[in-house]
Assembly symmetry: C2
C-alpha cells in the first residue's frame, strides 16, 4: 500500500468507524441504526467493526466517551477563563448549555446514553468526564462561603440534572425518533437563555432552592 504502515491504516479505519457511527447515532438514534449502515458508510465490513470493537454497544460507548471528552474540554476551557469561583461556575454552566445544544451531544450523550449503557455506567462516565469538575467548583464555593455549606454530592447531582434537562429543552423539540421538525433551524439562543437563567446579583446562598 502507498499509505503508511499497518498501524496508520488501522487507526484510519477505527476513526472512520467512530466518525460515521457518531453521525448516524446522532441523526437517527442508537436503535434505528444498523451495523450494516455504519460499515457501509465507513467503507469497511462488519469484520472490521468487530475487530476494533466488542459490538454495537461498545462502539456506542467509544463514541460517547469521545463526545463527553469534547464537551468537558469546552466547558473546562470556558470556566477556567474566569478567575472568580462563582463566575467560573456560571460560565461553565453556560458553556455546557451551549455544547449540549449540538445534536450529537443531545441524542448520544443525553438521550441514548443512559438507556444503552445503563444509568449507572453512564453516570460513572459523566462523573469521570465532567461532573468531577462541577463537584470541585461547588466545594470551592462552599469553602469560600459563597454558597451555604451542604453535602456537595446532592448539589452536584441536582445541578447536573437541571443542566441536562435544560440543554435538551433549549435544543428545541427536534429529535430523530419523533416526527422531527426542521433540523436546520437557527437553534434557540442557548447562551442568552443561560445568561437569563443565572442571577444578575451575585447570590450569597445557593442552597435554598435545592
Amino acid at each position: 500500500m502507498r499509505d503508511g504502515g499497518r498501524a496508520r491504516q488501522r487507526e484510519q479505519t477505527r476513526q472512520a468507524l467512530l466518525r460515521e457511527s457518531r453521525r448516524l447515532f446522532a441523526t437517527l438514534g442508537y436503535g434505528a441504526v444498523g451495523l450494516s449502515e455504519i460499515v457501509r458508510a465507513a467503507g469497511v465490513t462488519k469484520g472490521a467493526l468487530y475487530h476494533h470493537f466488542d459490538g454495537k454497544a461498545a462502539l456506542f460507548r467509544a463514541v460517547l466517551e469521545q463526545v463527553q471528552e469534547e464537551v468537558a474540554r469546552q466547558v473546562a476551557a470556558t470556566a477556567d477563563a474566569q478567575d472568580d469561583p462563582w463566575e467560573r461556575l456560571v460560565a461553565g454552566c453556560q458553556a455546557f448549555l451551549t455544547a449540549g445544544t449540538a445534536p450529537d451531544v443531545r441524542q448520544i450523550m443525553l438521550v441514548d446514553g443512559p438507556a444503552v449503557l445503563g444509568w449507572a455506567e453512564w453516570r460513572a462516565m459523566d462523573e469521570a468526564a465532567s461532573a468531577r469538575h462541577l463537584t470541585d467548583e461547588l466545594t470551592t464555593l462552599i469553602e469560600a462561603g459563597t454558597i451555604v455549606r451542604r453535602p456537595v454530592a446532592p448539589l452536584a447531582h441536582l445541578l447536573s440534572g437541571a443542566m441536562n434537562e435544560a440543554a435538551l429543552w433549549l435544543a428545541g423539540s427536534t429529535d430523530p425518533p419523533g416526527p422531527g421538525r426542521d433540523p436546520g433551524r437557527p437553534v434557540t439562543d442557548a447562551g442568552g437563555a443561560a445568561r437569563r437563567l443565572t442571577p444578575r446579583p451575585r447570590p450569597v446562598v445557593l442552597g435554598p432552592s435545592f
Copy 2:
C-alpha cells in the same frame, strides 16, 4: 366460556400484557426484552399483542403512560394535602423522589422513556401527566411573591430535570443493563434525603440558584 363476555376477556388479556411487559421492561430494560418473553409471561401469543398494540414501542408507550399516571397521582395527592403553596411544592418534590425510587419508574420513565419514544414525545407526555402541575405551583409561588418573578417554563424544566436526576441517584446504582447489584437492597432513604435537601427556613427567593 365460563368467564364473562368477550369484552371482559379482552380487557383481561390487555391488562396481562401491560402487567407482564411492565415487569420485564422494569427489570431487564426495554432493549433486553423480547416480545416472545412478554407474550409467554402473559400466557398469550404475538397475535394477541399485535391485536391490542401497534408494536413493541406502542406497548412500551402504554406502560409508560400507566407509570406516569401513577406517579402523578401520588405526587398530586401528597402535594394537595398541604395548604401553603411552598409546602405544597416541597411535599410534591419529596413525593416525586419517593415514587421515582421504585425500579419501574426508574427504568421505564426515566431511563428508557426518552430513548424509546424520543425526547420530544417523552417530554410531552411528562408535561401532560405531571409537569403541568409543577408549572401551576411555581406560578402560584411567583404570584404570591414567595419566589422571584421569572419566566416559569425555564424554572419548571430546571426543577424537573433536577428531580429526575435526583430520583435516579437516590435509587442507588442498581440498574439492569449494568452489572446490577442486589435489587432487593433496602433502598436509600429517599424521603429523608429529600427532606434534607430542602431548606429548613422558608426562603424568600428561589431564583438565585437558577
